[in-house]
Subunit: 332 residues, 2 copies
């Protein structure tokens, strides 16, 4: 299966050929640090192509868990600029960093790749920075499954830090918090943001609050309000989320923000919470993976067995039909 090597790599067809890597090729290029192999593997993850798991399995020995920080907040709060600032800081510290911008899209339209990644172009030529949008195709929860797999691949590739940036509104924040080690919630002096977040249950998921655009009027008021809301939090909470002010556009407050991320990470490790979280999340992920497999088995059975589909439509019994399909176990 070494047909690819028949091509002269200086020929104009070489780049086309390299996008058609076969699996063993994918692995060797991934191991050699070819970023296109990484990008291709993440595309496979994103479209839920199970063949990527051959690669994952063979990379298992060299997996290292990267630090994972999620940034979430309403559109217009300056999340992308803030993330851009954090990337610049990490590069000064010689850490390699991957940014996954997760875009839940509308499940009804499919949705497109983001335009605002353009802002990140100043890192475009830096091989230690990898920036990528990920969409959620198909079902609810698909985004967090794909994100978890992509993080494992990024760790195996050698990235030290992974930053998750949410783009949409709504459920995506919660999905990101369920994957990140530390979740940063970004607000602005515009109080409306805060109200929306409270309604969406965002307050509970914050490990760190950032009030960005702190040069605008009202930022003191927002910080005070936040502080008083947090004082109502349930007692017994060991980690008290700090509230930081930043002006991302001027790169102000970024160092303090990263220091807070590291402090939170230390807290998770020293309290034993990091291990607990990792275990719980691996179990949850296993459940979601099983859910995905089950959906696929149902889809296939209904497609391939007209009699089964007809009975479902006649009798209107989704529970019986689902059980019948799953009870068969593996179909050879």
């Amino acid at each position: 299966m070494d047909w690819w090597w028949c091509w002269d790599t200086t020929s104009p067809y070489a780049s086309w050929a390299s996008s058609e890597l076969n699996d063993s090729d994918l692995e060797s290029r991934f191991r050699s640090g070819d970023v296109r192999a990484l990008a291709r593997a993440i595309s496979m993850v994103e479209r839920r192509d199970p063949s990527v798991r051959v690669l994952e399995e063979s990379l298992r020995a060299q997996r290292r868990a990267p630090g994972v920080v999620g940034f979430t907040g309403a559109p217009g709060t300056g999340k992308s600029t803030l993330v851009d600032g954090v990337v610049a800081l990490l590069r000064k510290k010689s850490s390699s960093v991957a940014v996954l911008a997760t875009d839940p899209n509308s499940p009804f339209t499919g949705g497109a790749i983001l335009g605002d990644r353009i802002r990140m172009q100043r890192h475009a030529l830096d091989p230690k920075v990898f920036i990528r949008s990920m969409g959620a195709r198909g079902h609810l929860g698909g985004l967090s499954l794909a994100t978890r797999e992509a993080i494992r691949l990024l760790g195996a590739f050698g990235f030290d830090e992974v930053i998750l940036e949410t783009v949409g509104v709504g459920q995506s924040e919660l999905e990101v918090a369920a994957v990140a080690g530390t979740t940063v919630v970004v607000l602005t002096p515009n109080l409306g943001d805060g109200v929306q977040m409270i309604k969406a249950g965002i307050l509970e998921i914050a490990d760190i609050f950032v009030v960005n655009k702190a040069d605008l009027d009202g930022h003191v008021r927002v910080m005070t309000e936040l502080r008083s809301m947090l004082s109502l939090a349930p007692r017994g909470q060991i980690w008290k989320p700090p509230i930081l002010a930043t002006i991302a556009a001027k790169q102000e407050g970024i160092e303090e923000l990263w220091a807070a991320v590291l402090a939170h990470r230390d807290h998770l490790e020293s309290s034993g919470r990091a291990r607990e979280l990792a275990e719980q999340r691996l179990k949850d992920e296993t459940g979601e993976v099983a859910a995905e497999i089950a959906r696929n088995r149902v889809r296939r059975a209904l497609d391939e067995e007209p009699a089964l589909a007809e009975r479902l439509l006649d009798e209107g019994t989704p529970y019986n039909t689902a059980e019948e399909i799953l009870d068969r176990g593996r179909q050879i």
Copy 2:
């Protein structure tokens, strides 16, 4: 199992006893039109208690599909007042109507029953009106499964119309649109609502737009903007979502709104889309039911088989573990 009949129904214990109905009792009371039996069955659905399916199965013959209309929109748009107006109109037309207020809550906190159902109290003594909040416990997508089952129960109980009202923000709108026959998106002259909706992919799910609070400044502008956004919609769309103005607090525009709902329903029927939708949704529901069963099987296996759980945590292989559990099929 007729122990319940030992109680004297005039005794003060009777109402306690009736909340402890056994299954055969539940069915006979449900059939006799006891609203408490309906409420109990919906509670079982909500907490994903599989024993409710015995009842569903035995009611299958008398199932009638009620009309299902979803109302969605940002908090503060006046959805509840609008729904209240529609309920009043339907009662004038002698239709019975159930309102399910779906509250996705925060999956991190559990969340509480809504206070604003109080607004609905003017219908509290009307047996042809049933109002109920439903929360989403557990996983993403759980709310739409519970909603679909509840709608079947409401149909079997004899309700003509079911109104779904979303309470949260974000994903819940999409879940409601996936269940309702007709989705009404409620906006106000506050343009911010509109921008949020476009970002959340709400525009695509609307069958009818309502600009409520049409006595406020700016409503003409919002309607014009909406109209121009809709003119960009993909060609070939047969149904053109109408844009209506209402002042729900004064009961203005409600009749026109209901006429639009009926026109949309006619369109679905006459175009054959109603049948297509029903079939596709039954298949999707079967997939989601299978996903729920699969999650439960994984949870049980990891709880009951320490060796399996330990291997998962050691090796970090959720995909292998999920497959192994599902491949077993039914465990006796």
